[in-house]
């Protein structure tokens, strides 16, 4: 007996359904024991241990598309909600737990095949359980000359990540994982298999080359959505570049930042510095908020740009830096870097250039030890240091059990970054966070090539401390609401905040959500597919939630 039945389903009906699921995938691959279901909880949930924590009633793990179809048909028969996960490693954004408690998790981890990698037309086709590691290893084993683009945690799924608007670290268009997908196979809420784009043409060989096919594109509905279960998906790949070059630009004044951003935008959009530009401030960094100078700066609230310019002058370090990265033939990357220096020197008096490095690719094993691997499309797990015990971290003695990210979408402009930094500060001040961690020296993240993401202060969770988690939820919800009100919504969020986030997209009385709901009802009449994902509830359940 599961702890949590799907609402409105009797134990007897559920048992019948489970029996049918077992018939479809084999008894070993249907999980209903408390121990097994515990592994489907969201390890990083800030709802952990609360009454409204998201819990599955069972988990089913198909190995083929046909088994996925069978599972979906059974769910329709019994009107039992399903929730599909790929590798289940979407930690901080929901992990392996459903968005509607009592759902049966469809765990696609066993479907982890790399179906095709073409290094002449530069694409891959994979299954949802395939991880970045799996795809990377497949390419490496065969000596194919293409790069993948991976986010920080290497164990995630290229499909799951792209579907949740995940982002990465290599060249411009590839960092946007949804943007670089091409072609899908989907099991629809009625159990039919559908292929999108050119995949619908039984004879075409361009499923992973051309996204559109003919007629309306439906792919977008499956991103942060609940219109079907994606069982195959293609991605465009970056051909392995000959070499890589980096150099760091420093600008003296705090107010030089706007010009710096404008020039870096140009270098990126013109395909000169196609690698990730990494911004930082020499005035920030760990421990800065405890220094007397900083306290003096912030004593009377958020400082003006003039005060910040004066502060930078007094500290005698360049206020901002941008690490530029270039991929390509040696002559070309050297010429691009020379151009970048010339352009920025001419525009920003006092700009200096440091940390110049050139490397032919691929990196040697020795170079791999000292470089930021994701910038080279090499999956790894380094990011977990933020939740592990960092050598001098504040949580060294009692590390968090996880964290909940908040990254806001901000225009690529200096003035908008200033406004977003202050917005984080205002939220923390209003909530009386002590100490306030938002500083005028935080930098945007450049995972996406046309927009910045700005982090708000980390939200850590403790599986053993329900009260702590409750405070974290309040803080997180405040970030969602107040940052959106300032025009800076989160680009993705955990299930507990999805209704709240979607509500902020309120143009014309949430016309977009209503349109999505009409579409949803049309293709999922029984409302069985991932109810509530990103605020989208089927008719039967609408109004049940926030």
């Amino acid at each position: 007996m599961p702890i949590k039945l799907p609402p409105g389903i009797s134990a007897a009906a559920f048992a019948e359904a489970v029996k049918e699921f077992q018939g479809a995938v084999g008894a070993d691959w249907v999980f209903t024991s408390e121990d097994d279901l515990d592994t489907y909880r969201d390890a990083y949930s800030i709802s952990w241990g609360h009454d409204d924590e998201y819990l599955a009633s069972a988990a089913v793990a198909p190995d083929t598309v046909e088994q996925v179809q069978a599972v979906v048909r059974i769910a329709n028969k019994y009107k039992i909600p399903l929730y599909a996960i790929s590798t289940g490693k979407n930690l901080t954004y929901g992990g392996s737990a459903p968005t509607y408690s009592g759902s049966v998790v469809v765990d696609l981890k066993r479907m982890k095949r790399v179906l095709k990698v073409d290094d002449k037309r530069n694409f891959a086709l994979v299954e949802p359980g395939c991880s970045y590691y799996d795809l990377y290893q497949h390419i490496k084993d065969r000596g194919l000359k293409v790069w993948i683009d991976c986010p920080d945690p290497g164990w995630g799924s290229p499909i799951g990540n792209a579907l949740d608007h995940g982002v990465g670290y290599t060249a411009s268009p590839f960092r946007d994982h949804w943007g670089s997908h091409c072609g899908m196979e989907v099991v629809l809420p009625n159990g039919e298999i559908m292929r999108t784009g050119m995949g619908a043409s039984p004879t075409s060989d361009t499923w992973q080359d051309y996204k559109y096919g003919v007629g309306p594109h439906v792919d977008g509905l499956f991103a942060q959505g609940n219109f079907g279960i994606v069982t195959k998906m293609g991605f465009w790949l970056f051909p392995q570049p000959e070499s890589w070059m980096t150099g760091t630009v420093h600008v003296p004044k705090y107010s030089d930042y706007s010009a710096l951003v404008d020039h870096c935008n140009y270098l990126e959009d013109a395909h000169l510095a196609t690698g990730q530009t990494m911004y930082g401030s020499n005035l920030g960094g760990p421990g800065v908020i405890a220094t007397p100078e900083y306290r003096a700066l912030m004593a009377n609230g958020w400082p003006t740009i003039e005060q910040l310019d004066a502060y930078a002058a007094q500290r005698k370090v360049p206020a901002w830096r941008a690490k530029l990265q270039f991929y390509g033939p040696e002559k070309a990357v050297r010429a691009s870097w020379a151009y970048a220096q010339r352009r920025i020197s001419a525009a920003i008096p006092g700009a200096t250039f440091t940390d110049i490095e050139f490397a032919t690719l691929p990196l040697s094993p020795a170079q791999e030890k000292t470089h930021h691997l994701v910038n080279f499309g090499i999956p790894n797990m380094a990011i977990f240091q933020i939740v592990a015990r960092p050598p001098a971290g504040p949580n060294n003695a009692n590390p968090y059990d996880g964290h909940t990210d908040f990254f806001a979408v901000v225009s690529r402009s200096g003035s908008e970054v200033f406004r977003a930094m202050k917005a984080v500060y205002d939220v923390q001040k209003e909530l009386k966070i002590d100490p306030i961690t938002a500083t005028p020296f935080s930098s945007p993240v450049t995972w996406h090539h046309k927009v910045f993401f700005m982090a708000a202060g980390g939200v850590g969770n403790q599986r053993g401390d329900a009260e702590h988690n409750r405070r974290m939820r309040a803080l997180y919800a405040a970030y969602i609401e107040k940052m959106a009100a300032a025009g800076f919504p989160a680009y993705r969020t955990n299930p507990g905040a999805q209704d709240l986030l979607v509500k902020q997209f309120s143009f014309n009385n949430n016309a977009l959500l209503k349109f999505q709901e009409a579409l949803k009802d049309a293709v999922d009449p029984n409302g069985i597919m991932s109810p509530g994902r990103y605020g989208l509830w089927p008719k039967q359940l609408r109004g049940k939630k926030a």
């Binding site: 791999e368 090499i378 990011i383 240091q385 592990a388 053993g464």
Partner: protein, 121 residues
Amino acid sequence: MKALIAVLGAVISLAGTAAPVFAADAGQLALGKEKFDYWCDTCHAPDPREAGRYLPGTASLNAKYNGSRPGALVDRTDLLPPYVELVIRKGMEGMPFFRKTEISDAEMKAIAAYLSRNTRQ
């Protein structure tokens, strides 16, 4: 859960030296190593920057034990299978738990046997 794991950990650290606690056959150890390398090694390999991959698991255990035990799991001589299995299925701090679709029970036992191959009575 953390408390439970801590207790189990303490029990295990009390276990002494001498002969290996579990007799595992070579095939199981090989499977265990293979699955450890696939699933665990990305965070728990010996050197925190082994092959350039910053290894948060090894770094975290180094910080925790301050040299009193090795940070790398493969160098440990005090791990007992039930503890290894518990951490795999229940997680530990920032390390989330693993599902059977990732690491099956048989694979988990093989990993546990591999990591406790040097543990003495």
